[in-house]
C-alpha cells in the first residue's frame, strides 16, 4: 500500500549540542577520576603523576560539563529547584545530586592529593569517589534508556556502554596529557599498562556494538533506526569513524609493539579513541531523535 504523509507536525529535537558536550565532558571527567583513584589506591609510587593528572582533569572536565548542562537549561536561574523538588524517579534529579556530590568529592580528593599530601585520606576519598564516578558515567545512559519510544536509547546496554566509553575517553586523555607533559618515557611500564588497559576497554566497547544487530532484527521502528546506522545516512560515521578510525585503529596502534612504545603512537592512538568516543555519543544523541514520534 502506498502511503504519503501530507501534513504532520514535528517539534524540534530536545537534545542538541550542549547535552552532547556534557555527555562527552562528563563521561571523560568521570573516566579520568576512575583512572586516577584506581591508580592511587592500587598503584605503586610510580603511578603518582597519573593520579595527579587524572584528578586535576576530572575537576576541570566535570566543571565544564556541569556548565554545559546549565547552558542547556531554558531557565538556568531556576536550577536550584533541581535540589529543592527532588523527583525520585527522574534521572535528571539523580544527575543533579550526583554531579554536585562528585564535584565536592573530587575537590576534597584533590586537596588531600596535591596540597595536604595525606595518602590515607586521599585513598579514602578516592574510594568514595569511585562509586560516585561510576554512577556519574552510567546514569546518563539510564537517562536515555528511559525513553520508551526511542528504540536506540531504550536499551539496558546504555548504562554499561556509557561507563565503558567514559572510561576510554578518560584513560585516553590521561595517556595523551602524560605524553605531552613528558612525565614518563613512552617505554615506561606505567605508559605500557595504560595503553594495554585502553586496548581492553576499546575491545569491550566494540563488543557492545552487537546491540546494533539486536536493533536490526527488532520492531519496525528499531529496524529503521538500525538501517540508518548500518547502511543509511550515518553509515560512514558509524563504520568509518566510530568503528574503524575510533576503535580498530587505536587497538592496532596500541597493541603493535613498535608503535605502542613510541610517543607518536601513544598520542595518535589516544587521540583516535577520543574521536571514536565522541562520534559514538554524537550518533547516539542525534540518531536517537532522528525519526519523529508523531
Amino acid at each position: 500500500m502506498n502511503e504519503t504523509i501530507v501534513y504532520n507536525v514535528w517539534h524540534l529535537n530536545a537534545y542538541g549540542f550542549w547535552v552532547l558536550a556534557y555527555f562527552f565532558l562528563g563521561g571523560m571527567g568521570g573516566g579520568s577520576f576512575l583512572v586516577s583513584a584506581i591508580s592511587k589506591i592500587y598503584g605503586k609510587e610510580k603511578y603518582k603523576a597519573i593520579a595527579n593528572i587524572g584528578a586535576v582533569s576530572s575537576v576541570i572536565l566535570v566543571g565544564l560539563g556541569g556548565l554545559c548542562l546549565l547552558l542547556d537549561l531554558e531557565k538556568p536561574l531556576r536550577v536550584f529547584l533541581l535540589f529543592i523538588n527532588i523527583n525520585i524517579s527522574s534521572p535528571i534529579s539523580w544527575g543533579g545530586v550526583i554531579i554536585s556530590l562528585f564535584f565536592i568529592c573530587t575537590l576534597i580528593y584533590l586537596y588531600y592529593l596535591l596540597i595536604a599530601k595525606n595518602d590515607a585520606k586521599a585513598r579514602l576519598w578516592g574510594g568514595i569517589g569511585i562509586v560516585i564516578a561510576i554512577s556519574l558515567t552510567s546514569y546518563t545512559g539510564l537517562l536515555l534508556g528511559m525513553a520508551k519510544a526511542r528504540p536506540l536509547w531504550h536499551s539496558a546496554i546504555m548504562p554499561p556502554l556509557f561507563l565503558i566509553s567514559g572510561s576510554i575517553s578518560g584513560l585516553a586523555l590521561i595517556l595523551l596529557v602524560a605524553n605531552v607533559l613528558g612525565k614518563y618515557s613512552p617505554e615506561d611500564e606505567v605508559m605500557r599498562t595504560l595503553g594495554k588497559t585502553l586496548v581492553i576497554l576499546i575491545l569491550i566497547d566494540i563488543f557492545f556494538l552487537s546491540d546494533m544487530y539486536v536493533l536490526y532484527i527488532g520492531l519496525s521502528e528499531a529496524h529503521e533506526v538500525a538501517l540508518l546506522l548500518l547502511v543509511g545516512k550515518f553509515a560512514f560515521l558509524f563504520w568509518g569513524v566510530e568503528l574503524l578510525l575510533g576503535s580498530i585503529l587505536p587497538v592496532i596502534i596500541l597493541s603493535t609493539k613498535s608503535l605502542a612504545n613510541t610517543k607518536g603512537g601513544q598520542v595518535f592512538g589516544s587521540l583516535l579513541s577520543l574521536i571514536g568516543v565522541f562520534t559514538m555519543r554524537y550518533l547516539i544523541v542525534i540518531i536517537g531523535q532522528y525519526y519523529p514520534l508523531s
Binding site: 502511503e3 504523509i5 529547584l81 529543592i84 523527583n87 527522574s90 526511542r150
Partner: protein
C-alpha cells in the same frame, strides 16, 4: 385527600396519577443509580474521543487551540496529521487529530526532575509553569511528540485539555469549535457521559498502546498505519 375529591376520582385521573407516580419512581431510581455509580468511583477522569468518521481535516481545532493559547510559530498543542493512502483510483485521505494523550502512566511526569509535570486529580496531565526549569527531558521522553519549548516563556508546554475552561463547565476550545462534532469530551467516571458510553460500547483505538502509557484520547475508525509514527511509509525529510 378529602372525601369529595375521593368521590370525584375518575378512572382517567387514577391512570394519570399512576403515570406520575411511575415517572417519579423512575426518576428516583435513575438518580439512585447515578449516585451509586458516583460513590463507586469518586472524582472525574477526563477523556476525549475523536470520531474520525466525522473528521474532514479542516484544521479548525488547531486554529482554535492556537488562538486560545497564543502559541508561537511552528509549535502546536493540537494539530491534524494527514496521510494519503492508496493509488488512483482507490485513494483516501486519512486525518488524525493529535493532542496530548493525557496518559494514565505518563513518561513525562516520571522523568520531570522538579515535579513541574504532574497528574491532576481529574486525570489531566498539567505543567506548573513556575516549576519548569526547561531541561527538555520530558520532550525527549514523550512517545507522542506532544511537547515543545515555548520560545517566549522558555518552558515546556503541551495540550492541557483546556482545564481553565473545563473547570468552569465549558468544553475544550477544540471540542467546542469542531464543525463536524468529531471531538467528544467528557468524564470517563460518569457512566451517563457520551465519552464513557462510546468507550465502553464502540471499538476504539489509542496511539501506541504497547507502551503501556494508557492514553485517555481514543479514536474511532483510525487506520493502523496512520497511527504509527512513520505513517506507513518511510520518513522523508
Amino acid at each position: 385527600m378529602n372525601k369529595s375529591t375521593e368521590k370525584k376520582m375518575t378512572r382517567r385521573s387514577i391512570v394519570k396519577l399512576a403515570g406520575i407516580g411511575a415517572a417519579a419512581l423512575a426518576i428516583t431510581k435513575v438518580s439512585e443509580r447515578t449516585a451509586a455509580a458516583a460513590s463507586v468511583v469518586k472524582g472525574k477522569k477526563y477523556a476525549m474521543v475523536v470520531d474520525l468518521r466525522r473528521c474532514f481535516g479542516c484544521h479548525t481545532c488547531s486554529i482554535a487551540c492556537k488562538s486560545e493559547f497564543d502559541i508561537a510559530l511552528g509549535r502546536w498543542r493540537s494539530w491534524v496529521k494527514i496521510v494519503e493512502k492508496g493509488t488512483y483510483p482507490n485513494v483516501k485521505r486519512h486525518f488524525l487529530p493529535r493532542l496530548c494523550n493525557h496518559c494514565a502512566d505518563p513518561p513525562c511526569v516520571r522523568v520531570c526532575p522538579t515535579g513541574a509535570s504532574h497528574i491532576r486529580d481529574d486525570g489531566i496531565v498539567g505543567i506548573h509553569e513556575k516549576k519548569c526549569i526547561g531541561c527538555k527531558n520530558c520532550i525527549a521522553m514523550c512517545p507522542y511528540d506532544s511537547r515543545f519549548i515555548n520560545p517566549e516563556k522558555k518552558i515546556a508546554q503541551k495540550c492541557d485539555f483546556c482545564f481553565h475552561r473545563v473547570e468552569k463547565g465549558v468544553g475544550p476550545a477544540c471540542v467546542n469549535t469542531c464543525p463536524g462534532r468529531a471531538r467528544i469530551f467528557g468524564d470517563l467516571n460518569d457512566p451517563e457521559s457520551e465519552v464513557s458510553k462510546i468507550v465502553s460500547k464502540l471499538p476504539v483505538q489509542s496511539l501506541k498502546p504497547e507502551l503501556g502509557t494508557e492514553p485517555k484520547v481514543f479514536y474511532i475508525s483510525a487506520d493502523n498505519k496512520v497511527m504509527r509514527a512513520f505513517g506507513g511509509g518511510k520518513y522523508n525529510e
